[in-house]
């Protein structure tokens, strides 16, 4: 009891202020400070949400009045802010106070400022407009001599800071890296890291300072810099390999207890630091034997030192194990790590068990036998009361699935799905199940596949990702290698869906119904016993069901349309048409009318909806040439000629400038693929093929169940044995789960796991375009009117732009460097040997020569070499892509056999090989070129291409040599030649802009020379110079335009970028600054 009294006393000094009889100005203030207490007490005493709302609204009204009253002092404001924070935390809107929070941060003394900053960081977000008002305050506080103020400013900068204002504070924060106080240095490092996260381009130049921070004498600052390195190494590990030694040394010192005792946590030296370092090492050593060798010792030491006395040592151990398995393997370490995993898995502590399972999941791909060792534990975890553990176990099982155990594992997953209520888990599981189900990999047979998918769809239905049903349908439509097998599968699907639909009172998720309707529409013709009419009857029943969404009804209707030409009697179809031509749903009504007109001409309909052609492309006369006569007639009668949408838009724009998107609300059809003309649908007539399919054998309906039955009977038999029943069951389950994981299964498993994911991905990507086309052509359903108009709008926008591009040729580029320059500046290595640098195979000589003479290119640069070969590369900046040329030169006296150069796929690029890259022989002292064209897929800040060459010398085994080369976004910037008028139009249409001022030394001739620099170095096109203003334009490949407006005042050049892409202006402004300040 005395405890409570004590606590209440300490907690409520504010209450005393209320009773403070101090006179004068203190009186009102006192009542304010107690308000929070009062408010809290008031709220806790309430019983309903409604009352709370009332109370808080009242409170907010009071606060609103107080904060806006001119008599409110800053001190009172401070109290108000705390109450506002409290209200916001409870979820009430206190936006009226935001501006006052900023004011408090600006004007208050230290304590008030602190509250102000806190409130700002809790209330506002990075893009909030009010935040701009804070910038000056932050700048002022950063320059303050008071440490606390500097700390506060750094804290707020790292919490929220507007991206575009970073240049204003950047130099100040950089200075802080040299501050004498380590806490300031540490916070400055983290603030810079934050900048790196939100605007990586703007801190590119301070990477060297990060290195300094890494070497800081204070451990805390060094630890802070590890955040940055972890991030950067994750993005591009090859650039930081040289730091491996430093990280290893640091870790050695930490593990060896060289740090002050202050850093110990439960007598473990700096555990968080160790964790960070281990993660970094894991990233650095991945697939890199040489780097990995550097860290074997320290990892061994870490594993040895970590005595298991505290939770946090397990954290280190876990990271250690993870690192050991990520880097280039060393058997000794792997053995120790495997032992550690055992400790985790067998631990009675649930957290450790969880991590053990996680580690197993990670490791299992390298060492499946480990799962065998722990199989009993895994089985126990399957029935664990904690769903998270269960989930992790399933994930683990998913990784060890093979053809023999797939039925059991999927069964387990489905069981879990039935129990689980949590959406995100379901979504993840679906993905796994679907991958496992890919028929030709693991699934035992068709029936099982369809049954499982049915179960998945009916359980998960509407929460699953829409890709899943789409992928499933694609799988069915594209089929596998064996055509008869495919037909069996489809027929089975049709039959099982009909059975499902015939069940009384069954309810299926919308997505499942959509899948069913597509399959029925497409493949009902395979049925022998049932007529299309019977199928239509079922679909009709569904269509009349009110609980079905209109999207699903559209799918159903599409299926009916597809079945109509096959049906013999049309009574039902006519009834359908009757019902839906008067439907209130416009979409349905449209479909009904379509069906009505098509129905009048069955022959046309048959050619429109050929049987089993879902995977074939339909060719459509998009130019509507058949209308030419009609148009000519109209023109001759004085009708106005048709103007494309973009032309109309331009005209309108010139009338009312600035209102660019005004006109898009009405429906425009230009640019949309034409499926329907005046005379109806316009496909290229396809010859009908009537190949009848042989009657498939009747599939076994209940195979899954039978399988399970077998398992159960096995179990029954096992009961006879003396061992306890439960134990036996578990072992049986284990034997069915872990079957095929033995030694001979190992290699197999690894190979398979890989192919599954690949196959799946390829399927979903490769045929995307075609798929879209077929669905839009066949089902004719999903395009509602609103989406049409939206697409039109976008298309027109693109058209405008491409027209601008077309209007002038883009091929001529300023030639800065000639071919001769290049060979002159080539490394001396080549000069000595007196080699021709460009010596491509005869067939390609012409194209390379042409490429070089036409386009700008970089200098030849050596990327790697060894005693036998030297590889150099250069970039050719072609109009449409970046052409990378690697020239492989063999050195004296060695002839290379079967030299083969490969480039690893990179995240942001599409790399295509220009020529055959495998050469039978490279003679001694000669050069071969390999060309790759690189297309940009999405903007990036720092990219690199890496690859390897392998070759055979005369007698030796093959040698592999790796190399990498950095690409900058600049490599994908090309001039954009447009007229001044077009510039004006485009300028208005772009939303993203960035402004920057750059000081120049020269004053008068600044503009022309600056523009020239930009033209040469950054490949911007100078459109026009008007007085002291200049207009430039460029485009990022493939076609993202960026415009630049420069204006010169005395000795400052104001740059103003605009683009349709948000990151491009940022990047270019940084590059411009670099170029101009360099010049």
């Amino acid at each position: 009891m005395s405890d409570i009294v004590e606590k209440t006393l300490t907690a409520l000094p504010g209450l005393f202020l209320q009773n403070q009889p101090a006179g004068g100005p203190a009186a009102p203030k006192a009542s304010f400070s107690s308000r929070l207490g009062g408010l809290v007490r008031g709220i806790t005493a309430l019983t309903s949400k409604h009352e709370e709302e009332k109370l808080i609204q009242q409170e907010l009204n009071n606060l609103k009045a107080t904060v806006s009253a001119p008599t409110t002092t800053l001190k009172m404001m401070k109290e108000c802010m705390v109450r506002l924070i409290y209200c916001e935390m409870l979820g009430y809107d206190a936006s009226f106070g935001y501006i006052h929070a900023i004011k408090l941060a600006q004007q208050g003394n230290l304590l008030e400022k602190r509250v102000g900053y806190l409130a700002v960081s809790l209330f506002l977000h990075e893009n909030h407009e009010l935040l701009l008002l804070l910038v000056n305050t932050v700048v002022k506080d950063l320059q303050s001599t008071n440490l606390v103020e500097v700390c506060m400013a750094l804290t707020i900068v790292s919490q929220i800071f507007p991206r575009e204002m970073i240049p204003a504070v950047l130099p100040l924060i950089e200075d802080k890296l040299q501050h004498s106080k380590e806490i300031i240095r540490r916070k400055a490092v983290l603030a810079l890291y934050k900048f790196y996260l939100i605007a990586p381009n703007q801190v590119q130049h301070i990477h060297i300072k990060f290195r300094k921070a890494l070497c800081d004498r204070d451990v805390g600052v060094m630890a802070a810099s590890l955040h940055i390195y972890l991030r950067m190494i994750k993005e591009n590990s090859s650039a930081y390999k040289d730091l491996t030694g430093s990280f290893v040394t640091i870790l050695k010192q930490v593990v060896g207890g060289k740090l002050p005792v202050d850093f110990n946590y439960h007598s473990v030296p700096a555990p968080w630091l160790q964790i960070q370092l281990l993660r970094i090492l894991g990233l650095l050593g991945k697939d890199d034997q040489r780097t990995s060798e550097l860290m074997y010792d320290v990892l061994d030491e870490s594993l040895r030192r970590a005595e298991l006395n505290h939770n946090v040592t397990y954290a280190i151990l876990f990271e250690c194990v993870h690192t050991v398995y990520s880097i280039y393997p060393k058997s000794e370490l792997l053995e120790k790590a495997a032992k550690c995993i055992g400790k985790f898995v067998l631990s009675p502590k649930i957290n450790l068990k969880y991590l053990g399972l996680k580690a197993l999941t990670y490791v299992i791909q390298q060492d499946p036998t480990l799962a065998l060792q722990h199989q009993m534990t895994i089985i126990e975890c399957l029935d664990h009361p904690d769903p998270i553990i269960k989930r992790e176990t399933l994930e683990l099982l998913y990784r060890i699935t093979n053809a023999q155990n797939v039925t059991v594992i999927v069964q387990k997953m489905l069981e879990y799905l039935h129990q689980s209520k949590e959406e995100y888990i379901i979504v993840n599981l679906f993905e796994s199940i679907l991958v496992l189900n890919t028929v030709d990999t693991y699934a035992p047979d068709n029936a099982w596949f369809i049954q499982t998918m049915n179960a998945v769809f009916s359980v998960g239905g509407d929460v699953m990702h829409p890709d899943i049903p789409n992928n499933f349908l694609r799988l069915l439509a594209e089929g596998f290698d064996d055509e008869t097998e495919d037909q069996h599968l489809r027929l089975y699907a049709v039959q099982s869906y009909l059975t499902l639909l015939d069940m009384e009172n069954a309810f299926y998720p919308q997505r499942f119904l959509q899948v069913m309707s597509w399959v029925l529409g497409e493949y009902s013709y395979l049925l022998e016993k049932e007529k299309p009419e019977d199928v239509i009857t079922r679909l009709y029943k569904l269509l009349m069901n009110d609980s079905i969404s209109s999207e699903t009804k559209a799918w159903l209707f599409a299926a009916v349309i597809k079945l109509t030409p096959q049906a013999h009697s049309s009574n039902l179809v006519e009834r359908l048409i009757q019902e839906f031509t008067i439907s209130l749903d416009t979409c349905m009504r449209q479909h009904a009318f379509e069906l009505k007109y098509l129905h009048e001409n069955i022959e046309l309909m048959k050619s429109l909806f050929p049987v089993d052609k879902s995977c074939e492309e339909m060719v459509v006369d998009a130019s509507l040439s058949f209308l030419d006569g009609f148009v000519a007639e109209g023109l001759s009668q004085g009708a106005a000629p048709y103007k494309p949408h973009h032309q109309r838009q331009e005209e309108k724009l010139s009338q009312e400038k600035g209102d660019f998107f005004h006109e898009t609300s009405s429906l425009k059809l230009e640019g949309i693929k034409k499926l329907w003309g005046k005379e109806g649908y316009l496909p290229k007539k396809e010859s009908k093929i009537g190949d009848e399919v042989e009657a498939p054998p009747i599939p076994q309906e209940n195979l899954t169940i039978e399988n399970m039955d077998q398992v159960i009977t096995k179990r029954d038999q096992s009961q006879v044995l003396t061992q306890s029943k439960e134990e036996k069951e578990k072992q049986l389950l284990a034997s069915s789960l872990f079957v095929g994981l033995g030694s001979e299964g190992t290699i197999n498993l690894l190979g398979k796991a890989d192919t599954v994911s690949h196959k799946f991905r390829r399927k979903s990507k490769g045929k995307e375009a075609q798929r879209e086309e077929t669905t839009s052509a066949h089902s004719v359903t999903c395009s509602s009117l609103s989406s049409l108009s939206k697409v039109t709008c976008e298309n027109n926008y693109l058209n405008t732009f491409s027209q601008l591009l077309d209007s002038e040729s883009l091929t001529e580029l300023p030639l800065v460097e000639k071919l001769s320059d290049c060979s002159l500046s080539a490394p001396s290595l080549f000069a000595d040997n007196d080699m021709e640098i460009f010596h491509p195979p005869p067939s390609t000589a012409a194209s390379v020569a042409k490429g070089i003479s036409l386009y700008m290119h970089s200098n030849l640069m050596e990327v790697c070499n060894n005693e036998a070969v030297s590889i150099s590369s250069y970039k050719i900046w072609k109009d449409d892509c970046l052409l990378m040329v690697w020239s492989v030169a063999s050195k004296s006296g060695s002839e290379l056999k079967s030299a083969n150069l490969e480039i690893f796929p990179a995240e942001n690029f599409k790399i295509t090989e220009q020529l055959g890259c495998c050469l039978p022989v490279v003679e001694a002292e000669s050069t071969r070129n390999f060309q790759y064209s690189v297309h940009l897929e999405k903007p990036f800040t720092e990219g690199n291409l890496s690859g390897f060459i392998n070759y055979q010398l005369m007698d030796t085994h093959s040698v592999q040599l790796e190399f990498s080369i950095n690409l900058s976004l600049l490599d994908f910037i090309r001039p954009l030649k447009i007229s001044t008028e077009d510039f004006g139009k485009l300028w208005l249409s772009f939303a993203n802009d960035v402004k920057q001022n750059i000081k120049t030394s020269e004053s008068q001739a600044a503009l022309p020379s600056a523009l020239k620099t930009l033209q040469q170095k950054l490949r911007l096109h100078v459109i026009d110079i008007i007085g002291n203003e200049g207009l430039l334009a460029c485009q990022m490949l493939p076609s993202v335009p960026c415009l630049l407006h420069c204006r010169v005042h005395t000795n400052v050049i104001a740059l103003w970028f605009r683009s349709s892409c948000s990151s491009l202006p940022d990047y270019l402004s940084y590059q411009c600054q670099k170029v101009m300040e360099g010049s």
Binding site: I4, V5, E6, K7, T8, L9, T10, A11, L12, P13, G14, L15, F16, L17, A26, V40, R41, T44, A45, K75, I85, E88, M89, G91, D93, L111, R114, L118, L122, E126, V148, T155, S158, Q159, K187, L190, Y193, G220, A224, H227, R231, D262, P271, W272, R279, N311, V312, Y314, A315, F318, E319, K349, I350, N351, L352, D386, I388, I389, Y424, N428
Partner: protein
């Protein structure tokens, strides 16, 4: 990176809400509610990790939580953080609170919400772990408190008076304090693992 730090009591009332990634106001509230429901239905003897709910970024994110007497401390982190490491960070944070408030309880978090935020700022800055050394954190906070006293001047006098009263251990209890159903318990600081 840490995406969010949430503290709420056994009834789901938020006591500290700090997001390092910006979500709209209503989503934030939804996240707090959803997290509470996720955490509430878990027994104390099962693991302290949860996969992030669908709101906060899905499977890449983890909720790592600890339950102390009446309060849940939940950290939402991405895959670049170590689970056990964060679990201990929560412990460090709570122990620091305990040091700063001398036997911290839920009331401290309510009535000194701002101070709790300042302490948190010294532990986690912009989603990154800044300091894990408890003595160092307490030292920073004390430096700020000194500032408060020197700046406070006259206005700090009442606070000093309060502490004087407290130290004298007077038997008098302020009678007009009605703190409703707030549970006051000494937090259970024993380690979980």
């Amino acid at each position: 990176m840490i995406q969010a730090i949430l503290v709420f009591n056994n009834h789901g009332k938020p006591r500290l809400v700090r997001f390092y990634q910006r979500f709209p106001e209503e989503i934030q509230q939804q996240i707090v509610r959803e997290t509470f429901h996720l955490v509430l239905k878990r027994d104390d003897n099962i693991c302290n990790f949860l996969e992030g709910g669908s709101l906060i970024g899905g499977a890449d994110y983890k909720l790592i939580y600890r339950h102390y007497a009446t309060l849940y401390f939940v950290f939402c982190v991405d895959s670049s953080e170590s689970e056990l490491g964060i679990l201990d960070l929560i412990q460090v944070f709570v122990e620091t609170l305990d040091k700063c408030f001398e036997n911290v309880c839920e009331l401290d978090l309510i009535f000194h919400m701002d101070k709790v935020h300042y302490i948190l700022q010294e532990v986690v800055m912009g989603g990154m772990v800044l300091e894990t050394n408890m003595n160092e954190i307490v030292a920073q906070i004390e430096a700020q408190n000194r500032l408060e006293k020197s700046e406070g001047g006259l206005s700090a006098a009442p606070a000093r008076a309060v502490s004087a009263v407290k130290n004298m251990n007077l038997p008098e209890i302020p009678r007009n304090i009605n703190i409703g159903d707030i549970n006051i318990k000494v937090p259970n600081l024993s380690q979980f693992v």
